[in-house]
Amino acid sequence: MNLWLLAGRRLLRDWVGVASAVVVLSFIALAGASALGWIARDWSEEVAVSYAAPSFLAREVREVEREAASSVPQDDYGIADPLAAELAEIRSRLTDGAVAGAKASVLAFGADKWGRDVLKKAIKGTQTSLLVGFAAAGLATLLGTLFGALAGYYGRWVDDFFNWLYSVFTSIPYLLLVLAVAAVLGQKGILTVVLILGLTGWTGIFRLVRAEYLKHRVREYVLAADAVGASDLRRMFAHILPNVSHVVLVQLSLHVVLFIKSEVILSFLGFGVGVDTVSWGSMLAEAPSELILGMWWQIAAATSAMALAVTAFSLFTDAARDALDPRLQ
């Protein structure tokens, strides 16, 4: 029986693994739907007053208007306000046309400073964060695996060169390196963040894959492949890679989590995505000034989405590692 099939079966027996896989898949589905424009397409529209509080059962717009009308200052002390008519007109012009009509009936997580729906922002942010996480982890894994394979397989000066590169990258404090690359690239955007994280994050994967290749290249099955005439590239990628793929997969999964968190940190520090995009990080970056004013909903939305996604992904990674562990086979 195929070893992948066996691993799949073991994963299905682990209920934590299955549950976390369901959560991860629903996050991916959410991000996919948002990328296709099915949901949260209108996240940047002003749908409510500034800092509207969360309300699951919002009052009807009419009700709000009636309340607004009734809150018009009374004729105090029996003296008629000479400007009452004009003030009423100004008020109606200010409120009636734009906001009252645009007021949404339900805002589960309230609105931000510009009256945008926080829930839709969080969904759109999921799309950005997952995209960054997967793309950057994919890039880092690709680089780490390629470099590790070359270094571990060929040894000698190739190994020396990549080890030198590895030492350079790991000797610079990580955040400093990220900020330096961000500053050099200059422009903000998702692509920039992916490049920053991918180009700096391959080192851990490199080290592991290199060690695996060192171990495998002297195994008899690789010698046997050499004996029947398989080329170096074929031995490296057709023979050894499938045998170390469990290591690579687990690393990929770990780095998705790591880079989702890194994107949040980068965006929080202002090196992340631009103002025309929203991510969990940019939402958190807006949160400090809001919290002072007691507006807790934006940070709550961003952190709960992130905590759920990251926890589920980490648990899924653990389950996948257990299922793929060749010692259990």
Partner: protein, 513 residues
């Protein structure tokens, strides 16, 4: 007087019944050999005597030692008994010794634990023990760590540890299987001498029937968890009543067997090595080996571990570049030939059937890969058909094509490895310890297969082995290597009948008969 009596022992590992109702006795001062192939349950039986079974095993039955049922003892009482009453020597001395403690400390541990001696007393006792097991320069060895000792010295240290508290029963689980044949002889002699001097009883567990006649008085033959036959060595060896025992006795390669090979005539020289040498970081592994191999003949290459025989085999297949000398194939410089053209004509089968097949490749992929690389067969369907043909040639069903290596036994995997080598129809096949990891009955089948294939295709073999009996069965010519040098070479008759070099004589004298 019986010291150990095993009554209807059963051990289950969930679905697997490893031992199914085994009963035998070990008399005081006597030696009983427990013989069986891999998976026969002999090691599980030994472990259950000492209560060392893994936690997922369930045992039942009686194990009476000195009248006490060991299965009813508390863990504490059992621990007190281990070492002092019964002790054990394991197969792999390198992995059974703790690498971070010195030899002296490890041998002394049992003395401190069971006898409560002082530091000085322990040291004196350990020195005595090391001398008793024949370690040279025991004072210095006391401070050594396991990796600083050779395999034979490690096993001597293990034996010293086992006899430190003067046990009444010694269980030796394949104590010599990991050792070279000359060292094996020394260790067996040592065990026999110690047993006679200390009047211990011994349970000797082995897969090698030839050792049994040397060391034991009684023998118990096990297969698939049950006992097939037991009796005195003389009775079992001379008049085996069980078919399986008879098969085992016939299958074992005999060094004193009469050579029955049909000699080939004077065939042209196919492969010639002149002063082939290889060194790794300045350490010479092979120091100038020269030989000739003719078409259809088998050259046996004999040597102990570290003699450089594997390195020589890898150079012949161009898996290692030699650092000196030359290799000529049909008169051409082999290293100047195109890589693929050379590899098509010279193939290799490795020792370990568990490591030499890619675990992620199906058997079909493993067998068609070489054909694809060398452009044999027009398309994948044709190559598949060829692969099925190869499988039937090595005695495997066509259904194997879609399965993965881990679904096959060691012998079957080695057949697949042979089929892979045959897929290129090579002129020379290097067999690097190709049957050494297999049970004797499987070994005999594979040797038959190799001989049949040679008769069909007139392939030449370079047959590398540490086992002189196997080489005698296979080889026309024999070459003996020691420390990277060829010390003697000639036809098989000459070497086996009249060895010239003292090392060859020692080797031949050490083979158990």
């Amino acid at each position: 007087m019986i010291i150990l009596s095993v009554r209807d022992l059963r051990v289950d590992f969930k679905a697997l019944q490893a031992v199914q109702g085994v009963s035998f006795d070990v008399p005081e001062h006597g030696t009983v050999a427990l013989v069986g192939e891999s998976g026969s349950g002999k090691s599980v039986t030994a472990l259950s005597i000492l209560g060392l079974l893994p936690s997922n095993a369930r045992a039942s039955g009686q194990i009476l030692f000195d009248g006490k049922d060991l299965r009813k003892l508390s863990p504490r009482e059992l621990r007190a008994l281990r070492g002092a009453g019964i002790s054990m020597v394991f197969q792999e001395p390198m992995t059974s010794l703790n690498p971070v403690f010195s030899i002296g400390f490890q041998i002394g541990e049992a003395l401190r634990e069971h006898l409560g001696l002082s530091r000085r007393e322990v040291r004196a006792r350990v020195l005595e023990l090391l001398m008793e097991v024949g370690l040279s320069d025991p004072e210095a060895k006391l401070e050594r760590y396991p990796f600083q000792l050779s395999g034979g010295e490690q096993q001597r240290a293990m034996i010293a540890m086992a006899i430190a508290c003067e046990p009444k029963l010694l269980i030796a689980d394949e104590p010599t299987s990991a050792l070279d044949v000359t060292v094996q002889k020394q260790i067996l002699d040592l065990i026999a001498a110690l047993q006679a001097r200390r009047r211990m009883a011994m349970l000797f567990i082995t897969h090698d029937l030839t050792l049994v006649s040397q060391i034991a008085e009684r023998v118990v033959v096990m297969r698939q968890g049950g006992i097939r036959e037991q009796g005195t060595v003389k009775q079992v060896f001379e008049e085996p009543r069980d078919d399986y025992t008879r098969m085992l006795l016939d299958a074992r390669p005999r060094i004193d067997a009469i050579q029955t090979r049909q000699r080939q005539g004077n065939a042209p020289v196919m492969l010639e090595a002149r002063g082939l040498a290889k060194s790794f970081d300045g350490v010479a592994a092979v120091k100038g080996a020269s030989f000739r191999l003719a078409r259809g003949r088998t050259l046996g290459l004999v040597g102990e571990s570290g003699s450089g025989k594997t390195t020589l085999g890898l150079m012949v297949t161009r898996l290692h570049e030699p650092s000196g000398g030359e290799l000529r194939f049909h008169g051409e410089d082999a290293h100047a030939m195109p890589r693929l053209a050379f590899k098509r004509r010279v193939q290799i089968v490795f020792q370990n059937p568990y490591a030499s097949l890619n675990p992620r490749f199906s058997i079909g992929a493993t067998l068609t890969e070489p054909m694809r690389l060398h452009g044999i067969g027009a398309d994948q369907a044709e190559r598949r058909a060829l692969a099925v043909e190869l499988l039937s040639k090595v005695g495997l069903p066509a259904g194997a094509l879609f399965r993965y290596p881990h679904e096959f036994s060691g012998g079957q995997r080695q057949r697949i490895a042979i089929a892979r080598a045959l897929s290129l129809e090579p002129e020379l096949l290097v067999c690097d310890e190709a049957v050494s990891a297999l049970d004797v009955s499987i070994q005999a089948q594979l040797l038959d297969l190799l001989q049949r294939l040679q008769a069909e295709t007139a392939m030449s073999y370079l047959f590398i082995s540490h086992d002189l009996a196997v080489v005698k069965r296979m080889a026309d010519d024999v070459m003996v290597m020691k420390d990277g040098e060829v010390v003697e070479s000639g036809t098989a008759e000459e070497i086996y009948a009249d060895p010239k070099h003292p090392y060859t004589r020692t080797l031949l004298a050490s083979v158990p008969r």
